[in-house]
Chain length 105, copies 2
DNA sequence: CGAACAGTTCGTATATTTGCGAACTGATAA
DNA sequence: TTATCAGTTCGCAAATATACGAACTGTTCG
């Protein structure tokens, strides 16, 4: 049997999963997904962590592509990046739903 | 606005996401999901990592509950834990699909 | 200008993750 | 019994993640 390389799908799923791999980030995404818009302060008010840590988690989410930030001085407005959110939803959807059983080797 | 605690849903999603947060584990799950059964050796043959590392990733997946191992001397047969797999699918499904927009505060 | 406000960045400490080779375990085969 | 085979565990090194306070940036307000 040949060694495989991880496909770009494997990497993509892993990257999105990594973004979701902390309860704070799950909570942030849920909070954002429920709102048209949301400022840093709203998140900080609600989360049980220091603002530096909130900012750090937001960076992780921004780097994953799942959210985007827009500067509205003096605040920063965050929201879900709908395009990538849909990509992630489809990746996980296919991953969890489209398993085809093969006979035991 | 009140601080929230992370809910057990947040924790659960984060834990399953953590399990998926490495390409090797995504590849393993995909491989298992496609087969009725699969031995450690099959996975090691296919993955570009040392057997100690394969074993480690399998431990992570076992601890997450997404897979289970059964000793069939001298081999170990791994398979998807269908029950938890379904739980994870539903958690991610709801998470990605059931967002309700609220007006900007 | 100087103070205040909203966030980010920096520096640092600690914990967790990833990866590997080597040593181990437990079952079978010679 | 000894060797072998399948897989796990150990010990370690390097990288990454998590968290925080303090210092910083950039804007607005007096």
């Amino acid at each position: 049997m040949e060694k495989i390389d991880y496909t770009s799908r494997h990497h993509q799923i892993a990257l999105y999963a990594k973004a979701l791999a902390h309860p704070a980030r799950v909570a942030i995404l849920e909070f954002l997904a429920a709102r048209e818009c949301c400022f840093f302060g709203n998140l900080h008010d609600v989360l049980p962590i220091a603002k530096a840590t909130v900012s750090q988690h937001l960076s992780v989410l921004k780097e994953s592509g799942l959210i985007q930030g827009e500067i509205k001085p003096p605040q920063v407005r965050y929201c879900i990046n709908k395009e990538n959110w849909d990509v992630a939803r489809d990746l996980f959807g296919v991953f969890f739903n489209d398993l085809q059983k093969i006979e035991c080797s």
